[in-house]
Assembly symmetry: C2
Homo-oligomer: 354 residues x 2
């Protein structure tokens, strides 16, 4: 026997599909007599609503999940607010899930979360979004995804993504420092698990090469996207026999750490040392001097990612769309502030405290 | 006629309450014949499941909501992570809802959100948690709540809450400045909608009174819990004919704004000006010099609040509880760092730039 559908129920009860759906989902706006008729029809046909269809049809709310592993509260709040903006315009709810991107059980943890919380889809941020074994496993389980990644172009792998071209922006920052006369420019890495960190390094290295400056490996320090790593990295660079005259931190928190290290060493920023960050977080405007950085439209990027996901989950969400729903790239823009200045000739500088 | 209950349905269909609940929630583990019987009984009795009871019984996952309106990302992330810790230990999900606490439609917005997202309960932070017209209206709609508030003691109004004694902590900070020799101590308010701001001011005023220092109203400036308001407020205080020798900002962001204002005026902190903040956000450790502040256990406070809510929603959640679930108070602790120092006699100081 053919399995009965919601249409069979509607025909037998002589009501619309919408009404059957309302009864199934216990919505209040159905007359008692109609409701009774529908319930009898459901019982007689032994119709069993598909729980997932139920989710998608109405009643049960649409909820998407946001996954992140990032040490920077300003960045996280920016991403959350961007995703929430898209949720609000479509009536979706948002569940959040900070995670440990290095956990060997990450995929299982995410699948369990999606099932338990009946999430309609996920917004994945870096570094999870950049690991094929994670995105592949989730996609194989039929979990709708959108990824926010660092890349110079759309990977065109058929999956939804928003890509941020950190490489070009990092090139611009490095070029700005070179044009101020700096030749010895330190570079502090962000987390190596984030592709953004590699892209920023590549942009830095490319600019040096284009201007004929040899990359000195002593001026490059590994670390994470944190203030503390910026502080430590800068201390190491400033203790060199031939220290850099400018330091490019992979994000604003790192750059703020560099600033604190320079000040604790009695240096006058930007005259003794130029410092640049990345992201244009509020942090970068609140230091003294404020930081030269690359403005990343974090909220807008996250909002577009969530729209991309929601548009795929509910085709009518952006039907009348002034909002075009397709993969999209963003390039952060150079913002020059007080933390960078023309290099002073060495003889004009007092000896650098170690 | 008496409204039929789930018990009436179970009796008529000759099944257990649990089975009726399973049918209502479309769980798969019910035999077809039984299911048909239950659906007929529901139709005949015209039984209407209570959507909230439905939530609590099974199927639909437990999700709580977190409501906040706070300009400080570090604080928000701390609260989120505390609530998430309690959610993880009990399998609850978390939806977040930043809101505009001044919206005249706030109550309607929250009720609509709870219903649409089928939330089991809410964690309310200040200032929403401190407005009786908000908490009262939500409680009247049967929405389980826990409040995080600023108060010196448990209000004992029968509602769940976690209270933070900002008053005593602010007293301690002010006392620390007085003991360093400061008499002219500026105070910068946080948002007037937050009771914490009033409590911190009261602690400040009480300490001055106890030490026989007359409160000079010119040294008190209104503002919000933001860096920018700290910057503006400090500029105003430093431009006074007889400026303060110490400034107490109502939170760390305000204090960081004071620090930037002092530096931009060429002052040497702490020797020309002592600065204290409140909350011990990572922010306070990342400025130079790092800020004297009051350590508020934000994550722990939020975690306890969520446990309080979850324990009331699901009696078995902490049944074996090493975790005692009752209202609880927290007192932030003074942390002395480099931004406060003994007052220098006036003649030893250079003229203050305006």
């Amino acid at each position: 026997m053919r399995r009965p559908t919601i249409k069979d129920v509607a025909e037998r009860a002589k009501v619309s599909l919408k009404t059957v759906s309302r009864v199934i989902n216990n919505e209040p706006s159905v007359m008692q007599a109609t409701r009774t008729r529908v319930l009898h029809a459901i019982a007689e046909l032994d119709y069993e609503p598909d729980p997932s269809a139920r989710n998608l049809r109405s009643g049960t709310p649409f909820v998407i999940g946001l996954v992140y592993d990032n040490p920077n509260p300003y960045h996280i709040i920016g991403v959350q607010n961007g995703v929430l903006a898209a949720c609000r315009e479509t009536g979706f709810g948002l569940q959040i899930h900070p995670c440990d991107s290095t956990s060997p059980l990450l995929v299982e943890e995410l699948i369990e979360w999606v099932q338990r919380s009946r999430l309609a889809g996920l917004v994945l941020t870096a570094p999870m979004s950049e690991r094929v074994e994670v995105t592949g496993a989730l996609a194989a389980r039929g979990i709708p995804l959108v990824r926010i990644i660092a890349a110079t172009e759309d990977p065109q792998d058929g999956q939804a993504c928003v890509y941020v071209d950190d490489n070009d922006a990092a090139y611009e920052i490095t070029e700005h420092l070179i044009q101020l006369g700096h030749q010895r420019i330190g570079f502090l890495w962000g987390g190596t698990l984030h592709r953004s960190s590699q892209e920023r390094y590549d942009g830095y290295a490319r600019a040096l090469a284009d201007y004929g400056i040899t990359l000195d490996k002593h001026l490059v320090v590994q670390g994470d996207y944190t203030f503390d790593d910026g502080f430590r990295g800068a201390r190491r660079l400033l203790a060199l026999r031939d220290p850099p005259t400018a330091i490019f931190g992979s994000n604003d928190e790192i750059a703020a750490g560099v600033l604190a290290a320079a000040k604790s060493a009695g240096m006058n920023v930007p005259y003794d040392l130029s410092i640049a960050g990345f992201e244009d977080s509020p942090f970068s405007r609140q230091s003294w001097p404020p930081l030269t950085t690359a403005k990343q439209a974090t909220e807008e990027i996250a909002r577009h990612a969530a729209r991309l996901l929601i548009g795929r989950l509910r085709e009518d969400a952006y039907a009348d769309a002034s909002v075009a729903i397709h993969n999209k790239g963003f390039v952060p823009q150079l913002v020059v502030r007080g933390s960078t200045a023309p290099m002073r000739p060495r003889e004009a500088r007092p000896p650098t405290p170690a």
